[in-house]
Amino acid sequence: MAEADQRGAAGPTQSGIQTFEASHVAAVAELFQSTFRRPRDPAPDALRNYLEDIFLNHRLSDPDICSLVFVDAGGKVAGFIGVLPARLTFRGEPLRAAVAGSLMVDNPAENPLAGARLLRSFLSGPQDLSISESANALSAGMWERLGHKPVAAYSLDWVRVLRPVGFGVAALASGFRPAKMLSPLAMAVDAGLGRIARNPFRLESGRRGGGLAADVGDDELVAHIPEFIEQFAVRPDWDDDRLRWILKHADRKKRYGRTFKRLVYGKGGKPLGCYIYYGRPRGIAWVLQILARPDSAAAVLDDLLRHAHDLGSVAVRGRAHPSLMNALTRENAFFFSRSSTVVCSRNADLTGAINSGDALVTGLAAEAWIRLIGDEFDQ
């Protein structure tokens, strides 16, 4: 509550902005369920437990950087913004960062200013850098009104189609589940198409970079990821425990299939990069992160696409990053906009570095790894 009072908000029995705490979990879970999931169903226990786990038992808890709720005049929790604290560095100097998502308001007609208050309260916190990588059009519009435009370089999603007919069926099935019955037929047609040399979706023969790759565990990733991100002026400052905690959390996402974590090596055995994705046969693989040394993005992406193809995935999708654009374009990926990345800082040099693409502020560095981004909670 101290934080809420510092923000000039109300006490526990008054309306206004308050720090999210355990007593709010059930109400926020219902709000999340009605806003982003199935309004007719009550929030499952798994969602309640997860909200508590991710926002109240965070590995890097920071008493000054907290999620916030909006409590209306009747004492009801009517709004929420989820906030994850993060540590980054900018040209070697430590940064306090806060990653915001899940901005939601119950019945905006009754609480028309709640979203504005939640966002302003968040942005007026003590952090050096505020980030959101999942801002929808409404949320991005609010950031923009405050002077923070979406950063296009980090706001695109990409898709590389591997099996075009299967991709069409999978896309159709995402809105109409019975379409899944067409998957075996689609796979058979795609197998035939795969033998046609001019098929634009066929992967080129021969590996880019000519190296090897292997499935690895979290320990290997934790050991090598710092090498892959040191090129960025703005980057996460993970200690081993925190990165391991994030990777463990990422494993809990199940909607898109099993988690694959792989290191890609050059001809001399030197690690070139790594990737983490979720995938299953006949499904669209979902990439959480691709990291590569400078000039090695093509080799890492190449291995990812081959691995997903061999798994039986019909396409691979992920979040674009400036360091990947050349490789993605060469691989015939197409790009689309689904949500925006927005940042806010009083340090113009810092935002300049981010806008120029010299930053890792999405994916593992932000919030794409949490289950609230795209996962189901019904199991």
Binding site: R7, G16, P112, L113, A116, R117, G141, G147
Partner: protein, 86 residues
């Protein structure tokens, strides 16, 4: 100064919000929130205007319907803030 505040607020509302709802005028005492002229996104625009153009320091807890629901309310709020700061 008081006249300036009133004119500035009216002009800002007219220039930025009325055209979106295909309206030409709004009464000073008409509810901007109930008529859909102002929402969370719009109020952030308005707050930025009051802070930047009129030099008013707005606390998060002051972003409430009582201060922003009508042109009259906005002008009264802005004047009271300016008077306290003077």
């Amino acid at each position: 100064m008081q006249t300036d505040v009133g004119s500035a607020v009216r002009d800002f509302i007219a220039d930025n919000f009325l055209f979106r709802e295909d309206r030409e005028t709004v009464a000073d005492n008409e509810s901007l929130l109930e008529n859909g002229l102002l929402d969370s996104t719009g109020v952030l625009e308005l707050v930025a205007f009051l802070e930047t153009d009129l030099g008013i320091d707005i606390k998060d807890a002051e972003i409430i319907p009582e201060n922003f629901d009508s042109i009259d309310a906005i002008i009264n709020y802005a004047k009271s803030k300016l008077a306290k700061a003077a």
